[in-house]
Symmetry: C2
Subunit: 242 residues, 2 copies
């Protein structure tokens, strides 16, 4: 049976981290909210009409048979073993789940660069605060997060350019997505990305060349980055490299 992915149509957003895992693995899935009547099917869950244990706080969520899994990190932790995107040992799986939760925090911070005051208000109404928050994000948070992931790749004893273990994991795919998103949102600030985070850059390139990812990125299923998503390109927020 095909997996059912539920996420807002019209943007990559947080759903994209799940899509990349499903696409890399060649898994069968339906992107429900992009199909006809899909939005009302999704809203039935969010409004509690599917009942107990099937009432996520927000998309994305994944339905697999009668199991409903919400939150990107929870979904990837669930899919990892099924899609062969994590090592076998518990110790590695727990570490990778921790990496994904660190990426989750980073994604929330990337989002808040354009919405530092309220997600309910327009970007235009918090533009000055967005400039200040973006400056702090680019100066302090990006180096801290990406420096960390660069180090994680370096200490992997497999020395294969991946974050953990002998092969590709879902955390590698998510890190690829974040590298691409940052380059879209902040082309000036990310000018020295490959020099500053060489191992993350190599991993990004390695993921980009994987046949299933390349086919997906070139397909209509992959929406372009746009200004509804997490990573938005507002030239006034971009700045010279730190």
């Amino acid at each position: 049976m095909a997996y059912e992915l539920y996420y807002w149509d019209g943007l990559q957003g947080r759903g994209e981290f799940v899509r990349l895992a499903l696409e890399e693995a060649g898994a069968k899935y339906v992107d429900v909210a992009r199909s006809s009547h899909g939005m009302s099917a999704m809203m039935a869950y969010l409004h509690g009409k599917q009942g107990y244990l099937a009432m996520p706080f927000a998309p994305p969520f994944l339905k697999d048979g009668d199991i409903v899994v919400s939150h990107v990190a929870n979904i990837l932790h669930y899919l990892g073993p099924k899609l062969n995107l994590v090592p076998k040992e518990e110790k590695s799986r727990i570490f990778i789940h921790g990496l994904q939760l660190t990426l989750t925090d980073f994604v929330a911070e990337a989002h808040d660069t354009h919405h530092p005051i309220s997600t309910t208000d327009y970007y235009e109404d918090q533009k000055e605060e967005a400039k200040a928050r973006t400056q702090a994000f680019l100066r302090h948070r990006v180096p801290k997060f990406l420096g960390y992931f660069n180090h994680v790749i370096q200490v992997n004893p497999a020395k294969n350019g991946h974050t953990v273990g002998d092969a590709l994991s879902y955390a590698d795919l998510s890190l690829f997505q974040i590298a691409e998103g940052l380059a879209y949102a902040f082309p000036r600030a990310m000018r020295n990305f490959d020099r500053d985070y060489p191992d993350v850059a190599k991993l990004r390139d390695l993921v980009r060349r994987r046949p299933n990812i390349e086919a997906y990125v070139n397909s209509k299923r992959r929406l372009a980055f746009n200004d509804s998503g997490i990573f938005r390109h507002y030239p006034e927020l971009d700045q010279d490299p730190a």
Copy 2:
């Protein structure tokens, strides 16, 4: 062997969600950074000196034998079955993990009320932005999150006042901590808490009366809420109920 919890001394912070689970279960644990030489032991992990699979991005993290687990939700997902704080069925465990990840997001938003621009800068340097963010948080986000959890408790078929299943879970303990933290930070804005979120309020009281939690809260191990933590009481941020 005792669990080792690593978290900053001097505040409840995110470590508190883990402490509540360990205390409720009567588990043996060492709060490492509060012991002598504990801080340097913690920093050795953060600086990567403990090597591969033992390099968390940030505290809290838990050490159990040779396994290192980072992030609150990952730690509680790991401890849940061992401490008997989740039901047996996978479906419930996945749902509870999703609830905990929703609480994680809420905690980050509660933190950002006093630091909307930069965690590197002082609160005093972002006080005006903090007022705006807090207003949006109290008006839109608190009702959305707490309304959701109130509903989750209501639809639990066990009708026992818990979020999921027949008994107490770690998500119940975390929801208690959030209710207490909100009351500390925003006593004015939370004046109608019990009326607006009656099921969450009842769950808070139920957790508060559990013997191990009561003993813990009255012990020296429980630090008081203070203005280094996630929930801070700045009277100028508090406001009349929404």
